[in-house]
């Protein structure tokens, strides 16, 4: 039996409405986890760039731990294994999967952000550090006025990539029962058996998010660029 394509399911309700809701949820999960990931990642990355040994060890342990366990396993751990330990008030909480997904994705992405932050700071030429210290700036002032302003501009392209990745990784939230874009495409398949059309629509949704971010971040990057500092590909 040949497959009968039926693209109309994408724009007939309720499926169209589902896809729109799923799209919004994907955007929400991505942005909310990013709000956790960015400050946490910057903090851990900075910890690894400090002269303190303890800071480096803690930062490295965090990064190695979260980067070497699949995100899927981490989400299962946060959603299935941890809540029962915290008592029934937490484990029966409304929307528990939602908080677990955002938290899990956030602290996972923080480990990746931390890596970019560390390599961004370490790519500020050593001469700049010496120059800053020799003009009489303190360690703190050196970070505040030299390393951070330079380092962050170097980090913008890799952090943009990471911001794109967080939306792609948010697809894993479906495995703990959130009906975001990919979860919706699976559900439409269960209702209509037109998984091919539904998943194509979801892929288009992800491409829209990706292209929007590339466009916006391109503008941000242009505005903040220090001439000659960040090489463009």
């Amino acid at each position: 039996m040949a497959y009968q394509f039926d693209w109309s399911i994408i724009w007939t309700n309720p499926y169209f409405k589902w896809l729109v809701i799923g799209f919004i949820k994907t955007v929400e999960i991505g942005i909310l986890s990013w709000i956790i990931a960015l400050p946490l990642g910057i903090g851990i990355g900075a910890l690894r760039s400090l002269p303190s040994r303890v800071g480096r060890v803690v930062g490295t342990a965090y990064v190695e731990f979260f980067r070497n366990i699949p995100l899927l396993v981490q989400l299962f751990f946060w959603y299935y294994a941890i809540p029962p330990l915290l008592g029934t008030r937490i484990s029966r909480m409304h929307n528990l999967e939602w908080y677990c997904a955002i938290f899990g994705l956030g602290i996972y992405t923080a480990s990746r952000v931390a890596e970019h932050v560390r390599s961004g700071f370490s790519s500020v030429p050593v001469g700049q550090r010496f120059a800053a210290l020799s003009t009489g700036l303190s360690q703190f002032q050196m970070f505040r006025y030299v390393i951070i302003p330079y380092g962050f501009r170097i980090m913008i392209p890799p952090l943009t990539t990471e911001f794109l990745t967080i939306f792609k990784n948010s697809a894993l939230a479906m495995t703990i029962g959130i009906l975001e874009l990919s979860g919706i495409s699976w559900r439409i398949n269960e209702y209509t058996f037109h998984g091919f059309e539904a998943s194509t629509a979801a892929i288009v949704g992800y491409l829209i998010i990706g292209l929007t971010i590339i466009f916006l971040m391109g503008k941000v990057e242009k505005r903040l660029r220090v001439p000659g500092l960040v090489r463009r590909e």
Partner: protein, 218 residues
């Protein structure tokens, strides 16, 4: 509170799941790496009819979540073959298509690090394009990016857990099936996490070794 007997009792099942994960990893690597070698060449091709399609393919795949690609392949393969498709084959096809683009971009950087003079020397001794690729670009370029390739292998190994979504009984799915029966999520997912952690840490130690070796050579 922690009861490890659930792991010991189900160790055979878990071992079977881990073997499936390894099988998927090896087949995906055996397909993805060679394809990546060609994609890397295509991304540097001076012929527009090669460069543009290859670049479009690479950019497209890299902007799609792997999980969505697995769904898409899982749904589209039956349309092509006209019958049911085993999750394993759908997973293998998805991983090869997906990981090849990541390998390809790493390998492209390797090719680009080969000096122009070396390549020109190759042409001037009478080698044609394929011979230059075979004897100069691939051996030299590939060797330079081995640490990055191993890092990508670690990511690929973790990515195989996504075959969970189409019901393949790999390591994570096996643990979740056992969990459905015995409700011991802490022990089971903790065990899975530790096993992944150990394997991937060994991998990243290998990367560090390779990188310091590379540094010595320079």
């Amino acid at each position: 509170m922690i009861d490890v007997t659930v792991i010991i009792e189900n160790i055979d099942l878990l071992w079977g799941g881990l073997l499936m994960t390894f099988k998927l990893f090896i087949v995906a690597l055996a397909g993805g790496l060679p394809l990546g070698i060609f994609l890397g060449l295509g991304r540097l091709s001076s012929r527009k009819w090669i460069y543009y399609p290859v670049s479009a393919y690479v950019h497209f795949i890299r902007n799609v979540p792997l999980l969505m690609l697995i769904f898409w392949i899982y749904f589209s393969l039956p349309i092509i073959t006209g019958g049911l498709v085993e999750p394993f084959y759908a997973a293998v096809v998805s991983f090869v298509i997906f990981e090849a683009t990541y390998f390809g971009e790493i390998i492209r950087a390797g090719y680009q690090s080969v000096s122009k003079g070396t390549i020109q020397a190759g042409y001037s001794t009478g080698l044609n394009y394929w011979q230059v690729a075979r004897y100069i670009l691939i051996p030299i370029g590939l060797r330079r990016v081995i640490p990055s390739l191993v890092t990508q292998c670690i990511i690929l190994f973790q990515d195989t857990s996504l075959a969970y979504v189409i019901g393949l009984r790999e390591f994570v799915r096996t643990a979740s099936l056992i969990d459905n029966r015995v409700i011991r999520p802490l022990e089971l997912y903790g065990f899975v996490a530790i096993v992944f952690l150990i394997i991937c840490l060994i991998g990243s130690q290998i990367v560090k070794r390779l990188e310091s070796k590379e540094g010595e050579r320079k």
